[in-house]
């Protein structure tokens, strides 16, 4: 069933049991992103400690947008800021692939579960909400 390409088990798991959810007590950058076509909202906190990223987030949205925030936060926490860039680039490329790519598991780990999302044009924005928030936050934190 095509729908299972979208709602991979790992996605539904993260949706039901989100990781790194909750805003940080102290952070270097906070960004708030919305998806105006559906009203989904996400707040992302970013902090750098000894060169390692700490992420915290909160938001309301669909399974895809919330699971994407959870998986992204798990994936990027502990990474260096330069290290995060190729991961972000790989995820964006995967979302733009229209189902042609399956994603590099070495780079994206659990986030390859979103490969199926790229076949559903209306849902790509959902999957990208957290990642675009991170992109924004990472630019600010470099300043």
């Amino acid at each position: 069933m095509q729908l299972d390409n979208l709602y991979q088990e790992v996605i539904l798991d993260h949706y039901k049991h989100p990781e790194h959810k909750g805003l940080l007590q102290e952070f270097d950058v906070q960004v708030h992103h919305v998806n105006p076509s559906c009203g989904d909202e996400l707040t992302l906190n970013l902090s750098l400690k000894d060169g390692h990223l700490i992420l915290g987030w909160d938001g309301v949205g669909c399974a895809i947008s919330m699971a994407s925030a959870s998986i992204m936060a798990s994936l990027l926490t502990g990474k260096g800021i330069n290290e995060s860039q190729p991961i972000l680039d790989a995820f964006v490329a995967l979302m733009q692939s229209k189902g042609a790519q399956s994603g590099d598991e070495e780079v994206l780990e659990d986030a390859v579960a979103f490969a199926g999302v790229s076949q559903f044009p209306a849902r790509i924005k959902c999957a990208l909400l957290a990642w675009m928030a991170y992109k924004d936050a990472s630019i600010q934190i470099r300043k």
Binding site: L3, Y7, L12, C38, G39, I64
Partner: protein, 420 residues
């Protein structure tokens, strides 16, 4: 008086070519997104295409044969709309859509000079409601900003009805405009207009009705409604995209300044100035969407043939069937009136534990098209305390089976997402 036979949705479906296709791996198309746009019968598609095939020329210009025929077809379309609304042809203005119709009016206020009845000052007040579609909210917000006028609004109660208890303090003596929807595109609520119109006219305000969700689905007669302006869109009314209607009372249109300037809308022009044509031409600058107006006219004739009362009755039967099924489910919250009194065929709801986008996606895999999101009524969603809802909206071609499939789909979604 014509005799109206009871509506058979299966016969009607055969007039709509889109129902010959399937969606998502050969699923029957169950189209429940009529609040967003309606499907088109073959006669409308043909009417639009035939205009281009046989009649195409710029209307109101040129003395050649085609220009004559095109002008005649376009003006006949205006006659059809006026007949459908119980109005005069000169009161019908073709626009791009309902959004443009409302903006036309709002910008005309801005263009009104001191002394004109439409001129607004910071002492004036504009009144809307909390249940407006963005198209009947933001143009008035912006007009308030441009003119300095104050913006007030009616609130929505827990049942999704307008709270009219403070009507005299909301529609004050200084109110110049009361803009509201006839039927909420989210809640399905049909607003009672009598008291609002009476109070508005008592203080000398004009009443602007967003009829996007009513004109396609029920009998609307402007003479008996008593409003001053009314807007609806063609594409929600079985017509083509790219055409909408602003209706206004003759005596008001006479004084209303234009919004868009250019060809067609003038009387005389010199290098330094111009004077304006009479309504409706004053408000139709440039070559209009002619083929679309002709298509809309055909759509309205199709609807009249079926009978607007039949259509409304049919949609209410479907709504009752859905409300009955959803009211039985503890996991479902219905937003808006839970009975059939003063409501139309629009049902918005939430299913516990499933975000509307996920529900919509799941239903789509069953061939069911519903709308998910804030339905361009973000302030109303905030009032309801939700980010988004799922909405099913009916039309004349929907069947009992469509409703049953939706309910089956909701049950299956709850299993799929593990919420029951």
């Amino acid at each position: 008086m014509s005799i109206e036979l009871a509506l058979d949705p299966y016969l009607i479906r055969s007039d709509f070519p889109i129902f010959n296709r399937t969606v998502r791996d050969n699923k029957r198309l169950i189209y429940l997104d009529n609040g967003a746009t309606s499907q088109k019968p073959e006669v409308v598609i043909e009417a639009e295409a035939n205009f281009y095939r046989n009649t195409n020329a710029a209307v109101h210009r040129g003395a050649h044969h085609l220009a004559e025929e095109a002008t005649e077809a376009y003006e006949e379309a205006r006659d059809s709309v006026s007949e459908f609304l119980g109005a005069k042809p000169s009161e019908v203005i073709f626009t791009k859509n309902a959004t443009e119709a409302i903006n036309l009016l709002a910008y005309a206020f801005t263009n009104a000079e001191s002394g004109n009845r439409f001129h607004l000052t910071p002492q004036d007040r504009i009144v809307v409601t909390e249940m407006e579609h963005h198209a009947n909210l933001i143009p008035w917000q912006q007009l308030a900003k441009r003119s300095g006028a104050h913006l007030g609004w009616f609130c929505v109660d827990d049942e999704g009805r307008l709270d009219l208890s403070d009507i005299d303090s909301i529609i004050t003596e200084s109110t110049k405009i009361v803009a509201l929807t006839h039927q909420s595109n989210v809640l399905g609520t049909i607003n009672p207009l009598g008291a609002i119109i009476a109070r508005a006219h008592q203080v000398g305000a004009i009443v602007v009705l967003d009829a996007c969700q009513s004109v396609p689905h029920m009998e609307v007669d402007v003479a008996s409604l008593g409003v001053d302006f009314l807007a609806f869109s063609g594409h929600k009314t079985l017509g083509p995209t790219g055409v909408g209607v602003l209706w206004g009372r003759s005596e008001l249109l006479e004084d209303l300044p234009p919004f868009l300037f250019g060809g067609s809308m003038i009387e005389t022009v010199t290098m330094t100035g111009a004077t304006w044509a009479a309504p409706p031409t004053r408000f139709e600058a440039g070559v209009p969407n002619m083929a679309q107006a002709v298509g809309l006219s055909t759509a309205l004739k199709y609807l009249s043939n079926v009978g607007m009362r039949n259509i409304h009755a049919h949609e209410m039967k479907l709504t009752e069937r859905l409300l009955d099924a959803l009211n039985e489910k503890k996991s479902v919250t219905i937003f808006g009136p839970k009975n059939l009194e003063m409501r139309g065929g629009v049902v918005s709801f939430a299913v516990e534990g499933i975000h509307p986008h996920d529900l919509g996606q799941f239903l789509d895999s069953h061939g069911i098209a519903v709308r998910t999101g804030h339905h361009c009524a973000w302030p109303l969603n905030r009032k309801l305390g939700v980010v988004a809802t799922t909405r099913a909206s009916f039309y004349l071609y929907n069947t009992d089976a469509d409703v049953d499939e939706l309910v089956i789909g909701i049950n299956a979604a709850e299993k799929y997402f593990g919420t029951i």
